[in-house]
């Protein structure tokens, strides 16, 4: 069974509708993935809407002064945590294709007292940044949503400086695939 059961535009529309309609989930995801120390001072809006799948930031080698791209920033929890590590001499570019998510990330960064988080509207398959301008790309549960993953990964490579790092957490599946009824369920593309 091919995974390309839906057209690219259909997938984008499903993801856009599903994520655009989320408003205040549960803090359970944030509390499962991050330590209390990490969550200290992170605004409630980010905690209550965290949708990542793991704590990849523990493995991301983010240094003060770095430029970090958060691919699919959502409500901004990882952007805030990364921005604390880059410090004021660095910055986090928070990319999302949903204006609602960028507004949340902006609000969250403001409330956290960070002025080094820069929201950027765009798609991961066409990142609106110049070549070789980013030190580290982070992404949490986002690549699986892309209908053009090879293109999205090529874009990550393009914007990274040589020697820059990509640190990603994502859902993977094993060889035995899920039933077609699950693969074609609209919510399964966003979930």
């Amino acid at each position: 069974m091919s995974r390309d059961l839906l057209h690219q535009d259909e997938i984008r529309s499903l993801v856009r509708d599903a994520y655009g309609s989320i408003d205040g989930g549960s803090r359970a995801v944030a509390e499962k993935l991050y330590s209390p120390d990490e969550l200290e001072g992170v605004p409630a809006l980010a905690l209550d809407n965290a949708l990542g799948v793991a704590n990849h930031l523990r493995h991301a080698r983010i240094e003060p002064g770095h430029t970090v791209l958060d691919l699919g920033c959502g409500s901004g929890i990882d952007s805030v945590l990364a921005a604390r590590r880059t410090g004021p001499t660095g910055r986090v570019i928070a990319l999302d294709f949903l204006a609602e998510m960028l507004e949340r990330t902006s609000a969250v960064a403001r409330e956290a007292g960070l002025d080094n988080v820069e929201p950027l509207e765009g798609e991961m398959e066409a990142i609106p940044l110049p070549d070789s301008t980013v030190d580290c790309v982070i992404s949490n549960g986002v690549l699986n949503l892309s209908p053009r993953k090879a293109r999205a990964l090529a874009e990550c490579a393009r914007v990274l400086r040589p020697g820059g790092e990509f640190c990603v957490a994502d859902v993977t599946v094993e060889e035995e695939e899920l039933p077609p009824e699950v693969l074609t369920h609209p919510a399964a593309w966003a979930g």
Binding site: I22, N144, C167, D170, T172, L178, V182, G191
Partner: protein, 72 residues
């Protein structure tokens, strides 16, 4: 989840994109109870999964991988 790759495919795509030193740093199992934490998994989808996925696989629906790679 429906768009998720196998880990092998993910790593191959990273290689083709120009990444080197690709490391899978963590793997964790995602079961249906983990899926239920996310509002994107609707009750209808969760019910469909419970109905169609063999009971012995419900605790192991997917694997979360953390991967780090370097741009050559």
């Amino acid at each position: 989840m429906a768009g998720a790759l196998t880990e092998r495919d993910f790593v191959q795509k990273l290689e083709r994109a120009g990444f080197v030193d690709i490391e899978v740093l963590e793997r964790s199992t995602m079961g249906i109870d983990d899926c239920a934490l996310y509002p994107l998994f609707t009750e209808e989808l969760l019910a469909t999964m419970r109905r169609l996925i063999p009971a012995e696989r419900l605790g192991h629906v997917a694997v979360i991988a953390i991967i780090r790679a370097t741009r050559a």
